[in-house]
Amino acid sequence: MLSPAVLLLVITSVYPFFWLFRYVLYDYNGFVAYFTGTYNIKRAFTDAVFWKSVLHTFEYAIGKLILIIPISLGLAVFISRNLPGSNTFRIIFFLPTVISASVYSLIFTFIFAVFRGPLNTVLEAMNLITRPIDWLGDPKWVMKSIIVVAVWGGLGNYMIYFISGLSSISEEIYESCMIDGANGTQTFFKITLPMLSPILKVILLLAITTAFKDYQSILVLTNGGPDGRSHVMFSYIYNLIFAAFSSPQIGYATVLSVLAALIIGVITAGYLYLARKLDDVF
C-alpha cells in the first residue's frame, strides 16, 4: 500500500539529495564540476558569514515564534467567541496567508521607506520618533522589521489551526466551569490551553520548522543586508546558488545545506523530545 508513496519520496526527495551530495567535493557551477577535495568542507567551518547567518536564523525564529504563537492563539480565542463581526475578522486576519510572501514583502518595502515613508510619517506625526528610522538599512532595526513582516504574513495560518483546535473542545466543559465559578483567565489556563495541547504540539512543530526555513521575505526586503545583518541560513545558501553577480557555487552550497538540515533536524528532535509531555496533558 505504501510503495507508491515511498517511491515518490525516493524520486522527489531522497534521490535529488544524494545526486546533489556528490558535488560536496567539487566546485560545481551547474555545468562543469572541478574537483576541490575537502576545500568546501573546510571553508564551511571557517565561513564567518554562514555562522553569523545561523545566529540570525535563531534570532529570527525565536522572535517570530514568541510573537506569532501567542498573537494567533489570542485571535483564535477572540474569533471563536462568535462575537458580531467575527467572520469578517477571520477573513481579514487570514488574508495575508493567501498573498505571496514576495508580494506583501514588496509592499512592506514601501511602508518601511525612510524618507516620507508611511510608517515614519505616522510615527513622526505622533511624536514617537524625532528623525526617520531606516527600518531595513539600519543593523539595529532590520531584523525586528523582518520579524514584524513575518508575523503579519503568518499569523492567519496559525490562527486557523488554533480555531480548529478550539472547536474540538466541548461547550459542556466551559458550561461546567462557569457553574463552578471559574473566571475567563482561569478557564483559559486551566481548560482551553491544556485541552489544546495535542494540537499545540503540532502547531509548534510546524511553526518552528517553518521559522527556521523562512527566507523568501528576506530576499525581497533586504537580500540579507545591510552587511549580512539579516542573512539567515537559507537566504545565504540561495545567494550562493542563484546570486546574480557571481557564478553559482553549488558544491559549497550543498555542504551548507547539509549543515543547515542537520541544525534544523537537531532542533526538531529536541523539540519533539521536550514536547512529549504535551501528549500526556489530555
Binding site: 566546485d27 557551477n29 558569514v49 518595502t109 518601511f112 515613508g117 531606516d134 557564478s247
Partner: protein
C-alpha cells in the same frame, strides 16, 4: 453561486496559463522554418515585434517566434537548454546580469559566429563586427559568440539643475572630492526636504562610484601582472565614506529599488543620480520630469583628468544555442535583425545609442529625445572580462559598499580583498577552472587594443 465562482476561477486559471509563457508570436504557417528568439528586454518589445511581423509577412521560408522572458533570464536559458526546449537564438547585453559567457561556452551550449557572417558587407558595416569582439564579453579565446549592434552610454551623472542653483553651484564638479562637496552643499540647503545624492538597493558600488574610480585609471585587476589588485580603490572609498558621514546620501536609498529612487529623483528630493543612457527614456516617459530642469554630466574622476576607460555596455547581442536545429535559418534572422533598417529604426526610436562608426553617421538622433545628452565620449569602452574566480565571502563590490556605508577601516578591507581574490585565483588556476589573463602592454585608455594572453599558471 459556488458553481459560478468555480467556473470563474477555472477560467481565470486557464487564461493565466495561456499567458504564463510570456509574450510570444503565434504559431508558424505550415512549410516555414520557425526560428525562436528569447529576449529579456521589455522596453523595446513593441518595436521588435513590429519588425518581426514585417519579416514574417515577407518571408516565405522563415517564421520568427519572439518570446520575452523577463524573470530569472539566465537560469531560464540554462533550463531551456538542459530540458531540450531552448530557443534557436537569445538576446543578451554585454555583461548581462547572471550570464557568464565562459560557462556557457565550456558547456558547449553556444555556436560561434561564422566568418562568412562576420565578413558580410552589410553586417560588418552596421555592427563593426570585427572591431567589437571583447574577450569574455562576446568572445572566448578570440572566438565570437555574439555581435552587438547598439550600445548604452557609460555611467553619467544626472542632476537637478534647480537644486544646484539653490546650493549656489554653477558647474558640475569634475572630481570626486568636488562631488562630495556639492552633495553636501545641496543637502545643507535642503534642510531635510531634499538631499545631495542617492544610490539604490542593487549594484550600489557599480552604479556610479566604480566608474569614477575606473575613469581615474584604476581597475581591480592588474592586467599587466595578471593578479587582482584593489590598492587603487583606497582614495575613492575614503572619499565616498563622506557621503554617509556628512549625511548627504539620500536616507534609505541603500535599500530602495531602482525605480523607487528614480521616482524620488523625479520628485526633486535629491540632487544627483548616476546611471547610463537608459535614464533618457526613464525621465521623459516612465517618470517624466516636468517641474524642474535636469542635466547630464560626465562622471568626475579622482583628480579631474581622464586616465582610464569607463565601461560602456554594448547591447542586443544575439547568441545561438548549439542545440538549434535550424542554424542556417537562424543566421538569416541574425542578419535581418542586424540590418541597417532594423538597427537604424531602433536607435532613432531612442532605445539605444549607435555602436558602429557607420551607424553613428547615418542615424538621425533628432527624434531620440534626451538620448542625445548621453552621446558617446572617447574614453568609454569595455574592459576584457577578468578571471571569474570563486571567492569566499562577499564579492568585492558588496564588501566595498559595506565599508563605505559603515565607515570601516579601508586598509584592512583592501588587504582582505587582495588576499581573498588572489587566493581564489591561484586555487581556480590549480583546478583548471580559469586561466590567468595577462595583457603585457595594457593601456587603461584602450583596454582592448592589445592581444590577451591566457596562462595556465
Amino acid at each position: 453561486m459556488k458553481k459560478v465562482l468555480s467556473i470563474l476561477l477555472i477560467f481565470l486559471f486557464a487564461t493565466s496559463m495561456m499567458f504564463a509563457g510570456g509574450a510570444g508570436e503565434s504559431q508558424a504557417p505550415k512549410g516555414k522554418t520557425v526560428v525562436e528568439i528569447w529576449s529579456n528586454d521589455r522596453h523595446d518589445l513593441e518595436y521588435l515585434l513590429a519588425k518581426v511581423s514585417e519579416f514574417n509577412a515577407k518571408s516565405d521560408t522563415i517564421e520568427i517566434k519572439h518570446t520575452t522572458v523577463v524573470e530569472n533570464y539566465p537560469n531560464m536559458l540554462v533550463m531551456g537548454f538542459t530540458s531540450g526546449n531552448a530557443p534557436d537564438l537569445f538576446y543578451m547585453n554585454a555583461r548581462g546580469t547572471g550570464f557568464d559567457l565562459k560557462t556557457f561556452v565550456d558547456a558547449n551550449m553556444l555556436t560561434p559566429y561564422p566568418d562568412s557572417l562576420l565578413d558580410d558587407p552589410e553586417f560588418a558595416k552596421v555592427t563593426d563586427a570585427r572591431k567589437n569582439i571583447v574577450e569574455g564579453v562576446n568572445a572566448i579565446n578570440g572566438v565570437p559568440y555574439a555581435i552587438f549592434n547598439v550600445r548604452r552610454s557609460g555611467t553619467r551623472m544626472i542632476y537637478n539643475v534647480d537644486l544646484f542653483k539653490k546650493a549656489g553651484i554653477t558647474k558640475f564638479p569634475t572630481t570626486l572630492a568636488g562631488l562630495v562637496e556639492a552633495a553636501d552643499k545641496v543637502t545643507k540647503v535642503g534642510n531635510g526636504q531634499f538631499y545631495g545624492i542617492a544610490t539604490c538597493a542593487s549594484a550600489q558600488f557599480e552604479r556610479w562610484l566604480e566608474g569614477i574610480i575606473n575613469k581615474s585609471g584604476v581597475y581591480h585587476y592588474d592586467f599587466k601582472k595578471g593578479v587582482f589588485n584593489f590598492d587603487g580603490y583606497r582614495e575613492g572609498i575614503l572619499l565616498a565614506q563622506k557621503f554617509f558621514s556628512n549625511g548627504s546620501m539620500f536616507p534609505g536609498s541603500n535599500t530602495q529599488g531602482v525605480d523607487a529612487m528614480r521616482a524620488q529623483f523625479a520628485n526633486g528630493t535629491f540632487g544627483i543620480w548616476g546611471n547610463a543612457s537608459q535614464e533618457a527614456g526613464v525621465f521623459t516617459d516612465q517618470f517624466p520630469i516636468e517641474d524642474f530642469e535636469w542635466a547630464v554630466a560626465e562622471l568626475p574622476s579622482l583628480d579631474g583628468t581622464v586616465k582610464g576607460t569607463v565601461d560602456s555596455r554594448p547591447q542586443k547581442g544575439l547568441f545561438m544555442f548549439s542545440s538549434s536545429k535550424n542554424k542556417d535559418a537562424a543566421w538569416e534572422v541574425v542578419k535581418y535583425l542586424n540590418s541597417e533598417e532594423v538597427v537604424k529604426g531602433y536607435i532613432e526610436k531612442g532605445y539605444a545609442l549607435p555602436l558602429s562608426t557607420y551607424m553613428q553617421k547615418v542615424v538621425d538622433m533628432s527624434g531620440a529625445g534626451r538620448l542625445g545628452d548621453f552621446a558617446p565620449v572617447p574614453y568609454e569602452g569595455l574592459y576584457p572580462s577578468v578571471p571569474a574566480v570563486t571567492v569566499a565571502g562577499d564579492n568585492y563590490a558588496v564588501s566595498i559598499w559595506n565599508a563605505i556605508v559603515n565607515g570601516s577601516d579601508v586598509d584592512r578591507l583592501i588587504a582582505d580583498l587582495n588576499k581573498r581574490y588572489n587566493e581564489a585565483l591561484e586555487r581556480d588556476l590549480k583546478i583548471g577552472k580559469v586561466k590567468r589573463i595577462v595583457i603585457p602592454n595594457f593601456d587603461p585608455l584602450n583596454p582592448n587594443k592589445e592581444k590577451v594572453q591566457f596562462l595556465d599558471k
